[in-house]
Subunit: 325 residues, 2 copies
């Protein structure tokens, strides 16, 4: 082999080496930095059978908030847009309140002016008085046809590419990945498999009472307007225990509604990890934390560091935000 040939051979290997090197990065949309390094170090430690921090696969549960953690939540929770769009389809004669009328007219300001009671009325109209099956069909149709008011994109494209990579990375390393959302369990289950590769039995959320009834011999589950469980704040650890039956070792959130979930997860005996997605990128997404009504992060910002939690700073840590970039 002469030198020229060898040089050529090495040159030919360069793109292969680069490809291998890129393929070996489990989180390509995460910029190098403290958080990415810490995530990989944590996963390596719990998944390596020779590590003193090794965790058996059955105990590798990772829980994630949905709104603002796996997909966007501005200018309002997407499920509220779904509810408003459902009210728009109601018969005019059924619009018996100011809240329903405002929603049907698409007048968000007028709807918000009706207060919490008005919002709950709109949510109830879209989420109850039908079977679970019918509700899910409504959600599926809406996801297929609706578009986000700011971006004009389908809602399911507004998921965070770095979080998709994180979910896949954890699953590759033997984790079971769960959604633990303040949003509706039946709503999220319509999209969880396609959007996140998370099976419906690993979706935990808020729910209304459902009732088993027979309609002319056909049994069905009817959604009622009463709240069954509010999967937010201190409700999240309760729901995790109820559905999973053990304490997770990884919890990702973005707001104070996730505080207790991160606290519970990181209070176990072994190694654990609690990252907060921090919305710092007004150019590519939205920038918000302490103020407003959606995804408020106060206590989390104050206490994360002392508790050993990490931030995924969108502007700093994410080279890409959306899958279609």
């Amino acid at each position: 082999m002469n030198f020229q040939f060898r040089a050529k051979a090495v040159a030919a290997l360069v793109p292969i080496f680069l490809a291998t090197s890129l393929a070996a990065d489990p989180l390509p949309s995460w910029n190098a930095g403290e958080t990415k390094t810490a995530i990989i170090a944590f996963v390596d430690a719990v998944a390596d059978p020779t590590s003193e921090d090794y965790v058996t696969p059955a105990d590798r549960s990772a829980v994630f908030d949905n709104d603002g953690t796996l997909w966007a939540e501005q200018p309002a929770y997407f499920q509220l847009f779904f509810a408003i769009d459902q009210v728009k389809k109601m018969d005019a004669s059924d619009l018996k309140s100011d809240a329903l009328k405002a929603a049907a007219a698409g007048d968000i300001e007028a709807l918000l002016a009706t207060g919490k009671e008005g919002l709950l009325e709109v949510l109830a109209a879209a989420h109850s008085g039908m079977s679970v099956q019918e509700f899910k069909a409504n959600v599926a149709e809406w996801l297929d046809t609706a578009s986000h008011p700011t971006t004009g994109q389908p809602y399911t494209t507004m998921v965070y590419q770095p979080m998709l990579e994180l979910l896949g990375y954890l699953r590759d390393k033997g984790f079971a990945t769960y959604i633990v959302s303040g949003g509706g369990i039946d709503f999220i289950r319509v999209l969880s498999e396609d959007a996140y590769n998370i099976p419906v039995n690993q979706v935990i959320g808020s729910s209304l009472v459902s009732e088993y009834v027979e309609d002319e011999g056909t049994p069905m589950l009817m959604k009622r307007a009463d709240l069954f469980f509010n999967d937010d704040k201190a409700g999240k650890p309760v729901a995790i225990n109820h559905h999973i039956g053990k304490r997770p070792i990884f919890a990702g959130g973005n707001s104070d509604g996730d505080f207790q979930m991160l606290e519970w997860t990181t209070s176990g005996n072994g190694l654990s990890f609690g990252p907060y997605v921090h919305h710092t990128d007004a150019d590519r997404e939205w920038a918000y934390d302490r103020d407003g009504h959606i995804g408020v992060l106060n206590r989390g910002l104050d206490e994360a560091r002392e508790r050993g939690w990490y931030f995924a700073d969108m502007a700093k840590d994410w080279s890409v935000i959306w899958p279609q970039e």
Copy 2:
């Protein structure tokens, strides 16, 4: 090869053939008969990709009642014996009612005479006012030390060998196996992995309200005395939807408390299977159905045949009942 050699060779093969043949029987403790044949035909049909009744693995969920279906439930639900044994450990000064006094004295007749309210008081004393972790430790200790009043055996040995084989057979064929019990979710989770090879996140049951609290900086989940969910009768399909998020295709039960679970499971579009364990063997187990207070089976006995459900008749269908036989 001469004839003698061939005969020897064939003779040598006989035990191998028998062993293979036995190993090939997925349900060795089930006697040949209509029910065993139907179970295997059902499983073959839904697991064979070339079958017109094929069901994708993600949709192969099987749900099982626990008391009287996977383990015994006579002369009373085992969880009641646990509760009584816990009350026996209480300080005498805390025994402030006739029900608690009767339980502490082990006087079951006197306890039953206090009625439903007395029983609930005993259950509440054993199941609330402590953390989930502490409760589970109590259950684990009890399972390790207590013995059944009639058989003198540890409770976890009183599981049904044919049902263990059925659970394993279904899992081998790609099913996810779930417990859906009227008994307590936290109670069953202590034994589900060892007794049935069912992970805790596939255990569904009744539950009390639990509350996330901090005790001097340590977060914990405290069990309260209020009922959160009664996983019985029409509650079972509701809980299945809540935890699994889809309709199972196999449901096993033994009482009218399981009727709606079997009805829901067998009302789907594709092939499904609903067996009832029928307690017909007073010699080896107990014989009961229409009468009494435990595991009452009336509507199920009346309607099973017309609904296409099968019976596992203990005396007729099970050659072995207990694993230690």
